[in-house]
Symmetry: C2
Subunit: 308 residues, 2 copies
């Protein structure tokens, strides 16, 4: 059998990225596409591992180097977030819900990007388009991706379509959104067990804004104090990452899921630009961001504008 | 009323790009989106003017400078083909059927790209998704875009979906595909009346392949001799364009619609790279390309690979 086409999510995989890859590979097989594999660009986090166990599903295989392979990207469309070797791979399709990034192709390919709360939400449409049924297990995985990305429908990225789709998936999967969602959030991070470096890099994305390289980590938690009480150690870890990777700025969002607000910590030489972008003032390298829950929707766009 | 959102196609507009802009603006109004205008990034060619007259439709307004405006791009997704000012505009949506280009956005937007024969084909799906009816006039415009881009379903870019959609549109519009298609092709170009420069730049696209800038013009005709008999003058015009615009290579495809083959003329310093890409040998700056009908599918991908 020839080399398969790999359906794969972003580095530092989260639940939406892993579950979207699994579900889309499943749909492709139902549509009669043969030789499709699911892959991941890193290890599942504790929340994702809980989801895989709960729905009795094996994790996708780790793809160490994608060079020369055919890739279907889910949940991302920029090279700073792809598996290594992706620049030397052939990108044959993309399904995503983020900003349009820098991936270019030589030939026309299907690219479906929609401004909804999760890639899982879009996949439900693709199942419907193909008249394919979503079984309970797949519904459970898709629901997990949706609830994880939208913080159980509380994040400002949540759309009406996400809510409708979540209800339908919960129905098929046989779980209650709030109950299951709470279990999911409880696994989101065992923060107390993490090192400061793990706090910074656990859910981390790298961006190129014009000629600036900016890293943005996020800790979503019901106990922000666990991070903020170790602030000096976390800032040291951030400084280390900045000097290792040469970022112009590094931001860590410590997001309080219950109060729906974030505290941002900053490292790098571009604090003034970050302040301009976020319309916030850092004192002792921390700024309070009331109402900010979404890196993608509330932090990336203004920072990109400020850096360009 | 505030500034509208402009639905706009590529520079050097062709029939698909103009009709897609008209039809998508129409659909957006049907979906209840207010304050949507249709624009064009250049003057309609004779074929498009015939289509607009035939279906009793006004041409979109010419947009001279898009800076600061909101744009919905149809039928293109790279800056080398956008209306001027597009880099300073906000791109809020894209519907296309070409390779994925270099347009990036700060926020998530709807981007629907599918490897089918025309943007019109995708729009029919979007009408269906919205449960919106396609009236006879809109069907006529969409059919025109589809038949123009696929050379009346003969180009290798034509998919089964294009054929099915074309039959349905012809039905709604009340025309016969072959008869109407022949009329369309007859207006594609009044080649004999064109200057060599117009032959080169009439249907012209500019690409950035790695660090190289490459222009590719195409004349689709049933009488290739009208161009090839004036070969020296055409090559002179090509040389002029190369020195004015600093291209690394300029290719003119003279495509014989009946024999389904092309003759390529070349200018610029990179003939060896072009030869490698097309797997063809130029003698006296001309190469015969049997079976080549599609710039997008058969010429751009191998050239991009060769230049990178
Ligand atoms: Mn996601
Ligand atoms: Mn087109």
């Amino acid at each position: 059998m020839s080399e398969p086409t790999y359906v794969i999510g972003h580095r530092k995989p989260d639940t939406d990225t892993v579950c979207a890859a699994l579900a889309y590979a499943e749909l492709k097989r139902k549509r009669g596409e043969e030789n499709v594999s699911t892959a991941r660009a890193g290890d599942p986090n504790p929340e994702t591992q809980f989801v895989l166990d709960y729905w009795d599903t094996e994790a996708p295989t780790l793809l160490e180097d994608a060079a020369g392979k055919q890739l279907v990207l889910v949940d991302h469309n920029e090279y700073s977030q792809t598996v290594s070797g992706a620049r030397e791979a052939e990108i044959v399709e993309i399904v995503d819900h983020h900003r349009i990034g820098d991936v270019e192709t030589s030939a026309p390919i299907p690219f479906r990007n929609e401004p909804v709360g999760s890639t899982a939400t879009i996949l439900v449409d693709l199942f419907d388009d193909a008249d394919a049924t979503i079984d309970a297990q797949t519904a459970g995985l898709l629901l997990s991706g949706l609830l994880s990305d939208t913080v159980v429908l509380r994040s400002p990225t949540t759309t009406e379509r996400d809510r409708t789709v979540a209800e339908r998936l919960a129905d098929t999967a046989g779980v209650d959104i709030e109950e299951y969602g709470e279990e999911l959030l409880a696994h989101k991070s065992k923060l107390g067990e993490k090192s400061p470096r793990e706090m910074v890099l656990g859910d981390f994305k790298e961006f190129e804004f014009g000629s600036s390289r900016v890293g943005i980590g996020q800790v979503e938690t019901v106990e922000p104090a666990v991070v903020l009480d170790r602030r000096e150690a976390v800032l040291d870890a951030m400084d280390d990452v900045v000097s290792e990777r040469g970022y112009d700025a590094l931001l860590l969002l410590v997001t309080d899921l219950l109060k729906e607000e974030s505290t941002a910590l900053v490292a790098g030489d571009e604090t003034a630009t970050v302040e301009a972008g976020l319309d916030a003032t850092f004192s002792d390298r921390a700024a309070f961001l009331p109402g900010v829950m979404s890196r993608k929707k509330q932090v990336v766009p203004p920072l990109e504008t400020a850096f360009e």
